[in-house]
């Protein structure tokens, strides 16, 4: 069953706008939440990650917000650029889970000029 739910499936944002992708997890204790970025024809690459003892983490234009009580986390891309156009996956690693990733279904982001 899907333990990490991601939305929206696709997203179109104007250049300079804010892109927001949401994820929610259920039923399982997770203790690490990475976001991956994937360009066409390439493998996913780690973008930013957060642990559940922190409510927010920012790296440049990318911010993760984490709500432990609601079991939700989101990625915000500020000042979105055409070069950000890619597929984004949220993921989670369960507590004691041997570093195994459970992925969301992905969001295709397109940033238009």
């Amino acid at each position: 069953q899907q333990q990490v739910k991601q939305s929206p499936q696709s997203l179109i944002v104007q250049k300079g706008g804010i892109s927001i992708i949401n994820c929610a997890y259920e039923n399982t204790a997770f203790d690490y939440f990475p976001w991956y970025q994937q360009f066409p024809g390439k493998g996913p690459a780690l973008l930013i990650a957060i642990r559940p003892d922190v409510s927010e983490k920012k790296e440049g234009r990318f911010t993760i917000s984490f709500n432990k009580s609601a079991k939700q986390f989101s990625l915000h891309i500020m000042d979105s650029q055409p070069g950000d156009s890619a597929t984004y996956f949220c993921a989670a690693i369960p507590t004691g889970g041997g570093n195994k990733l459970t992925f969301g279904t992905g969001t295709q982001l397109k940033v238009e000029l």
Binding site: G43, P44, N99, K100, L101
Partner: protein, 114 residues
């Protein structure tokens, strides 16, 4: 460092054929993984290994086999290819001492079974 390399990049198989997807990493990582990516489904873990000689099943292991005789190599074997195995396959590796370690992905192998 080349990172994680995968061969072949593309392959077309007929139903019932077998093949091995190759994966090599040169980062001396202890953990290695195989995922498959289907449209709209994210990536799902097929098998993983925490070190040479140690492998374990992931979420979708049926129809696949793996071995890990060296730290560097982690081949994935398809014995009797089926159309349901049409997918993009990604190998990944990470260095894990305690807790978590970033996973580094290869460029993928696109497999079509007809």
């Amino acid at each position: 460092n080349a990172g994680v390399t995968q061969t072949p990049k593309f392959r077309i198989l007929k139903i019932g054929q077998s093949m091995t997807l190759q994966c090599t990493q040169d980062m001396n990582h202890n953990y290695m993984y195989w995922y498959r990516q289907d449209p709209g489904m994210g990536l799902k873990l097929i098998y993983y290994s925490v070190g040479a000689g140690i492998t374990d099943k992931g979420e979708v292991p049926n129809g696949y086999n793996v071995s890990r005789s060296t730290t560097e190599d982690f081949p994935l074997r398809l014995e009797l290819a089926a159309p349901s195995q049409t997918s993009v396959y990604f190998c990944a590796s990470s260095y894990v001492t305690s807790g978590v370690g970033e996973q580094f992905f290869g460029p993928g192998t696109r497999l079509t079974v007809l």
